[in-house]
């Protein structure tokens, strides 16, 4: 039986309300508008016969007399493990790359149940990205969830694109939320060369707000399918603040009581249920999540970055065009740094310690203090470190990164000045290696 209704009682923001029977929570509906167009909507509240739906394409132009048909199913993603790769979809899972609809696709549930914690395993493998500030200093680990905390204007999308191109992963799923159209085109063009392993779900800033809310679920539902089929999937999301803002918009339209700066009380749970999709499945694939979170006003205590920080396993700070080595942290790096090369952890620590010392010298210098000869070495070291390692354009394998680290140290310091244990110096110090 088709359930069609033709009278909408209320339209507030992206939410419409009408009277209907036999409707289930979360059910999908199609709205046919006067001008012959159609859009989907999802049930977000039931109260007696009063049904509230969030309209994916927004409520602009929706008439109280438009036809609403309930489809008797939940929101789904058309999935096909072969035909999804290389394609671009919008937040509702419709192709937007002017290519035909998917062939042989199977509809799958989005926002599915969470992974049983007793079946999780301790992460143990690193993901090489070719970027020294990640691989060497804050290693990304398979199944990790890490945000990139940044502010508007920083090259976070460029960073994501580089990671998408360089990272070791079988499948890359990119979810764009509130993207400027230029950024969308940028991603499309940048990732054209690795089409065979990339899927894009894109919501641009001009698209309806409800579609923005669906992007992470779509991206993660696809990722979950590949992961359970044995693929290592890297999910890149940008920008999660836009996602949170779209939730705020719908919550306000629903007259929900806001908790903190207008965000709904379930912000933490909503973010967590997405981030917790990151998983390493024993004997199968994995999902790793890197998500840009822009901090309004560069304020890390803003509800979005703050809640994110409690959920994720560390964070990268992208500041001044580089990944800041001090605030950034990969909580899982200890799990893998021991397995890469024996000099990895001590070298990393020594380089950071010296860079920190250099930073202090710079501050003193700027205050007019005189600098000693050792301080001069520190300053020279810092600038070489910045140009040869911190620059995001650098693309090296981990082994090359480590060798470069030793080379830079040797350019400016004596063995003793590095305070690295003698045994390691004997093996890895450039002069000793040559001998």
């Amino acid at each position: 039986m088709r359930k069609v209704y033709t009278h909408i009682d209320q339209i507030v923001g992206p939410v419409i309300t009408l009277r209907a029977k036999g409707v289930s929570y979360g059910e999908l509906a199609r709205i046919r508008t006067r001008d012959g167009g159609s859009t989907y909507a999802q049930v977000i509240k039931l109260k007696g016969e009063e049904v509230s739906l969030q309209v994916f394409a927004g409520s602009k132009g929706i008439s109280t007399g438009d036809e609403v048909e309930f489809l008797g199913r939940q929101v789904q993603l058309d999935f096909s493990s072969d035909n999804l790769l290389g394609r671009t979809f919008n937040g509702v899972g419709e192709p937007i790359d002017s290519r035909p609809r998917l062939q042989g696709a199977e509809p799958i549930e989005i926002g599915g149940p969470s992974f049983n914690p007793s079946r999780r395993i301790i992460p143990s493998q690193m993901i090489q990205t070719g970027i020294p500030m990640i691989d060497m200093f804050n290693t990304l680990v398979k199944s990790q969830k890490l945000p990139i905390f940044s502010v508007a204007g920083e090259p976070y999308n460029e960073l994501l694109a580089r990671i998408a191109l360089q990272a070791q992963a079988d499948v890359i799923v990119l979810g764009g939320m509130g993207l400027k159209y230029d950024d969308y085109l940028y991603f499309r063009d940048q990732l054209a060369s690795s089409k065979e392993r990339t899927i894009l779900f894109v919501h641009t800033a001009a698209d309806p707000v409800v579609e923005c809310m669906m992007v992470p679920d779509m991206a993660l539902a696809a990722a979950e399918r590949y992961a359970t089929a044995g693929k290592d999937v890297l999910v890149l999301l940008t920008d999660m603040t836009a996602f949170a803002d779209s939730m705020k918009e719908v919550a306000v339209a629903m007259e929900q009581i806001p908790a903190n700066r207008g965000y709904p009380g379930d912000l933490y749970s909503q973010l967590a249920s997405r981030y917790e999709k990151a998983v390493d499945i024993e004997g199968s694939g994995s999902i790793t999540i890197l998500a840009v979170t822009t901090m309004p006003g560069d304020d890390v205590t803003h509800p979005v970055p703050d809640n994110t920080g409690y959920i994720t396993e560390g964070q990268f700070y992208l500041k001044g065009g580089v990944i800041d080595p001090f605030g950034s942290l990969s909580r899982l790096k200890q799990l893998v740094n021991g397995k890469t090369r024996p000099d990895h952890a001590p070298l990393m620590n020594a380089m950071i310690r010296l860079y920190d010392a250099a930073r202090k010298v710079r501050q003193q210098q700027s205050m007019g203090f005189s600098v000693s000869t050792f301080d001069q070495h520190l300053l020279a070291y810092a600038s070489e470190f910045e140009t040869r390692m911190m620059d995001l354009a650098v693309n090296l394998s981990l082994v090359e990164q480590l060798d470069l680290g030793w080379e830079i140290l040797a350019n400016h310091f004596t063995e003793a000045q590095t305070t690295i244990p003698g045994k390691l110096l004997a093996t890895w110090w450039p002069k000793n290696r040559a001998a």
Partner: protein
């Protein structure tokens, strides 16, 4: 009890409104039948999908319920059957070493049944029905017993697990039959009793159910906490001790080391039973405990740590209503083992996530919000939760008197790292010990990042006799003196930031160095070192004495540089000593080095 039924009237997020006929109890459990749209029930080989929910508000023929599952697919008009029972958990042997979700579903068994993902509507018994236990009767025929009295025991791990008269029985029962010793499953009848008040005859098994939101209170009396709950984290045990049967709150911003501290306590604390409630936190953290504990041997018992541990795991992506229930489930388990005369330690991580679950529900109920939209009753719920921690005297007619305790340590994740927020403040009002983790310390890599100036413990004075006995006479006085010395040194440090080192008096500068020394060698501790992570009481006593000796010593420094050099050297030596295993060559030589350094300066002064 007759049970009622009803029909769904509305759905909003995880809240469902139901019109009912008959009577409905507050906090009663009900099941909502789901139309099988996607074939979920077929996949799970169930007749119909039924979602568990709890009544949280009743008004004029309708009740609001929080659903412990994803509510997608619920229709208006869907059938609801009320159980007449409050949200309860099964208690009995076999709880130890297990991992449950917030409602007491065993996660391992769920995985065996449903695979990698948690499917909604699947509820499994908390206790294993197949496993047998060596039953040993205690109660005698004709004996009159009350709730909480032992009927018999079974061995569980290294404990004698008491099978007790159910806590819910009112008045006395007369034992009319007891099963002989033997290997029994939990469902076997172990005793038959007549309830004197009603004359009802009841067959009792090893299993009883207890409503989680109600404290278990069948004990003789509540006692004043007077013994320390040793955590093996030095700064806590010495400066901010937690009492057995007491409460502590550990707030900290993200990245300040809450998890590491919590894990360290779960490993080394001197409790019999450790219950970890992973409430709304990362699943990854639980996994480390899950995978590592079975391999770790508890040096005190020689058995794996997992054998004394229960994990209640309702992580952040699991349903939020079950998260709300999870802390209650956890504390009920702690109370159950307390009733056997054991020391249970509950680690609740994080109570903020629990409070957020309350806030989400309160928002759905459209209640008038309090501060930061938390419900107005947040404070009283937090207080009631922490008040369930206690140390009690138990009287058993057959087993004699004993003491049992529940100690609760709850972490708080304050938004923005700001301790002024409602959850931290409500918690501080009711706990006996505050261990504040700060960014300032964690950025400076001073771990554990428990702030020595902001933290406090009301137990230090109360535990004075026990602490002086555990360490050495005068321990508490020394701790107090060092605490004052630390604060004084900190003040100098702050002053130094403004005026610079040069303008500081020599004596002030030395005071500063002494405080830094105390911080570096005693308050800081390496949680990842096998030796330093869990020093014995003797070693901690020795270290505190040594620290006092150094800071009290009159070195007679002539310059600040000289003082700094000496303290740097001493700090390095003592820190190395902290990492040296007892009885090792390093242990001896490093200790000697400190003493000879002190003697040398004494000799120099004498000369």
């Amino acid at each position: 009890m007759s049970t009622s039924s009803g029909h769904v009237q509305g759905v909003s997020g995880n809240m469902v409104t139901v019109a009912f006929s008959g009577d409905v109890r507050m906090n009663e459990v009900a099941f909502i039948t789901l139309p099988d749209l996607g074939g979920e029930a077929v996949r799970l080989k169930a007749e119909a999908l039924r979602l568990k929910a709890e009544v949280i508000r009743i008004r004029s023929g309708e009740c609001d319920m929080q659903v412990f599952e994803d509510t997608r697919g619920i229709e208006v008009g869907a059938e609801v059957s009320f159980t007449g029972q409050l949200l309860a958990i099964e208690l009995g042997p076999g709880l130890l070493s297990s991992t449950y979700d917030g409602l007491g579903n065993p996660l391992e068994a769920l995985a065996n049944r449903c695979g990698f993902f948690l499917q909604r509507g699947v509820y499994l018994p908390t206790l294993d029905r197949q496993r047998t236990w060596a039953w040993q009767p205690i109660a005698r025929l004709g004996q009159r017993l009350s709730a909480g009295h032992a009927l018999g025991t079974v061995p569980e791990a290294m404990f004698t697990h008491r099978i007790m008269v159910p806590f819910g029985i009112i008045g006395q029962v007369e034992v009319i039959d007891v099963a002989p010793p033997g290997d029994l499953t939990v469902d076997a009848t172990v005793a038959t009793v007549r309830v004197l008040a009603t004359g009802e005859v009841r067959a009792l098994t090893m299993v009883q159910e207890w409503p989680v939101k109600r404290p278990v209170s069948c004990y003789a009396e509540r006692l004043l906490p007077s013994k320390p709950m040793t955590t093996r984290t030095r700064i806590v045990d010495a400066f901010f001790p937690v009492a057995e049967g007491g409460t502590a709150c550990v707030p900290g911003p993200f990245g300040s080391g809450k998890t590491v501290f919590q894990q360290s306590v779960s490993r080394y604390a001197e409790a019999d039973i450790v219950i970890i409630a992973a409430c709304g936190e990362r699943a990854g953290e639980v996994v480390e405990t899950l995978r590592e504990f079975p391999e770790l041997i508890d040096p005190r018992t020689g058995r794996s740590l997992m054998e004394r541990t229960i994990i209640i795991c309702n992580t952040s992506s699991m349903p939020v209503a079950a998260r709300e229930a999870s802390v209650y489930t956890a504390i009920t388990l702690a109370e159950y083992y307390r009733q056997m005369g054991l020391r249970a330690l509950l680690l609740a991580d994080s109570t903020s996530r629990w409070a957020q679950a309350l806030r989400e529900m309160s928002g759905r109920l459209e209640e008038i919000p309090g501060e930061e939209a938390f419900p107005a009753y947040l404070g009283s719920l937090i207080a009631a939760f922490y008040e369930r921690a206690n140390i009690v005297r138990l009287e058993d007619p057959n087993l004699g008197p004993s003491q049992g305790s529940v100690t609760t340590i709850g972490t708080v994740s304050p938004a923005g790292g700001n301790f002024e927020e409602p959850v931290t403040q409500s918690t501080l009002a009711v706990v006996g010990c505050f261990l504040g983790l700060t960014y300032a310390r964690s950025y400076a890599k001073r771990f554990p990042a428990i702030s020595p100036s902001e933290s406090w413990s009301k137990y230090l004075e109360r535990l004075r006799p026990a602490l002086d006995a555990a360490y050495f006479p005068g321990w508490v006085d020394l701790v107090n003196r060092l605490q004052r010395l630390y604060i004084a040194g900190q003040k100098v440090g702050d002053q130094m930031k403004v005026v610079g080192e040069d303008d500081l008096a020599q004596a002030d500068f030395e005071r500063y160095l002494a405080a830094e020394f105390l911080d570096s060698v005693f308050m800081q501790q390496n949680a990842f070192s096998e030796v330093d992570s869990s020093p014995s009481n003797e070693r901690t006593a020795l270290l505190l004495k040594l620290t006092a000796q150094v800071v009290d010593h009159d070195f007679g420094f002539r310059s600040k540089d000289q003082a700094r050099e000496t303290f740097t050297e001493l700090t390095a030596t003592v820190r190395d000593w902290n990492l040296a295993a007892e009885g090792s060559e390093d242990y001896r030589t490093l200790l000697e080095k400190v003493h000879s350094r002190l003697n040398a300066s004494a000799a120099a002064r004498a000369a």
